[in-house]
């Protein structure tokens, strides 16, 4: 078929419903993720010392960074639905900046000599369960964000996939952090943040396959 015939054929096709604005999707996804996060938190329960922990700047900062991680990744996943990122390319770098800040924050705490949070986990204490719990919590939001992104036409499927999974894993991390009374940085690094990084890499691979159009 030559190009002129193709153009004639495409012109005959009926118009498609226009995709709504990123603001609309952002509000909708934000509401759904908050509701889901609250539900997951209710199911996992809240740690008994949460109020005390929230008065500690380090814990509060970690929670804020996790919240920002969820918001920036969800926003970037929504922008990635549009081929031109809705002409807000700068926003797609925010998740990386927040994740790097979170890693830097963890490393900074690891270097502190007498941080009471820097305790080694007890022998026989759980580890893998945390990663599995984060993955379980992240499963539904991941599927939801992927479904949403598939409505668009992403030209960065790898990045969009990693944003989707990172936003969902962020919810898993946050709910787990608010429910588990274990502040060992070794444990957090090994069983919370490293698995999250792996999930993001997995999300990128899934995105490449699932977000084809």
């Amino acid at each position: 078929m030559n190009t002129a015939d193709l153009i004639s054929q495409l012109s005959q096709d009926s118009p498609k419903a226009r995709l709504r604005s990123p603001g609309y999707f952002g509000c909708w996804l934000g509401a759904v993720l908050v509701a889901y996060g609250l539900g997951a938190q209710f199911f996992l329960h809240i740690r008994p010392d949460l109020i005390i922990q929230l008065t500690r700047p380090m814990f509060a900062l970690e929670i804020i960074l996790l919240g920002l991680l969820i918001i920036t990744n969800a926003a970037s996943a929504i922008l990635a639905m549009y081929p031109d990122m809705h002409q807000k390319h700068w926003a797609l770098n925010l998740p990386y900046i927040i994740f790097a800040a979170l890693i830097a924050f963890i490393l900074f705490q690891l270097m502190m000599p007498h941080d009471t949070r820097m305790v080694m986990p007890k022998i026989g204490s759980h580890g893998m369960e945390c990663a599995l719990c984060i993955a379980s919590v992240a499963l539904i939001p991941s599927a939801l964000i992927f479904t949403l992104v598939r409505k668009g036409a992403s030209v960065h499927p790898l990045r969009a996939g990693s944003f989707a999974v990172l936003a969902a894993s962020g919810i898993g991390c946050l709910t787990q952090r608010l429910s588990e009374a274990n502040d060992s940085l070794m444990h957090l690094t090994q069983w919370h943040y490293l698995p999250t990084l792996l999930f993001a890499a997995l999300g990128a691979l899934i995105g490449k396959w699932l977000l084809k159009w």
Binding site: M1, T3, L6, I7, S8, L10, S11, Q12, D13, S14, P15, K16, A17, R18, L19, S21, M81, Y82, P83, D84, M85, H86, Q87, G152, A153, V155, W213
Partner: protein, 184 residues
């Protein structure tokens, strides 16, 4: 005076207008839009791809623009949106081109001329000349014709004005002399 920059932006504004009309259901406007952007997209494709693949890539880009038309709202500049899709499909086409070139194999028949040239290289001829330097000139010629140039004894005799048997005897003597020289 109208500058080239403002002319370009006017053209792009026109693209936006007709594209919006097309998205609203005006098939003719949509046809005009696709026709108007085709030369621009063709130039973009030709910059990155071989001419043979550029037209296929252009059609892929047009189909992708059609598929992704719902992601454009008509409020933001259209060219970044168009070029993002074009670049995405050109990258796909480049992957195919490179993957194809890795799998491509050459038929041995296509190398016939090249291989013939290899046998005629100066270095090969020089080494044969060095071997034949102690052999009389007429026998050198016979050996060259029969063992390098591929003539039969009969053809060699015809070209040198000798009988076939005489050629064979001369060739045999020359080979014997060479064997003695090299001790084989």
């Amino acid at each position: 005076m109208v500058t080239s920059g403002s002319k370009k932006s006017d053209k792009y504004a026109e693209f936006t207008t007709i594209f919006r009309a097309g998205l609203a259901g005006d098939a003719l406007a949509y046809n005009h839009f696709l026709q108007a952007i085709t030369p621009i997209l063709r130039r973009v494709a030709l910059k990155k791809l071989p001419a043979a693949d550029a037209e296929d890539a252009l059609q892929e880009i047009l189909i992708s623009i059609h598929k992704a038309r719902h992601t454009y709202d008509g409020e933001r500049p259209i060219m970044p949106w168009l070029l993002a899709i074009a670049q995405f499909r050109i990258n796909d086409a480049l992957h195919k081109v490179y993957a194809g070139s890795r799998r491509e194999c050459m038929n041995i028949d296509e190398l016939t001329e090249v291989l013939a040239d290899v046998t005629e290289t100066a270095s090969a001829k020089e080494s044969i000349d060095a071997i034949l330097k102690d052999v009389p000139e007429r026998e050198q010629r016979i050996l060259t014709m029969m063992h390098v140039e591929g003539y039969t004894a009969k053809e060699t005799g015809q070209r040198l004005g000798m009988k076939e048997t005489a050629v064979k005897v001369a060739a045999h003597r020359a080979v014997k002399k060479l064997r003695e020289t090299f001790g084989t």
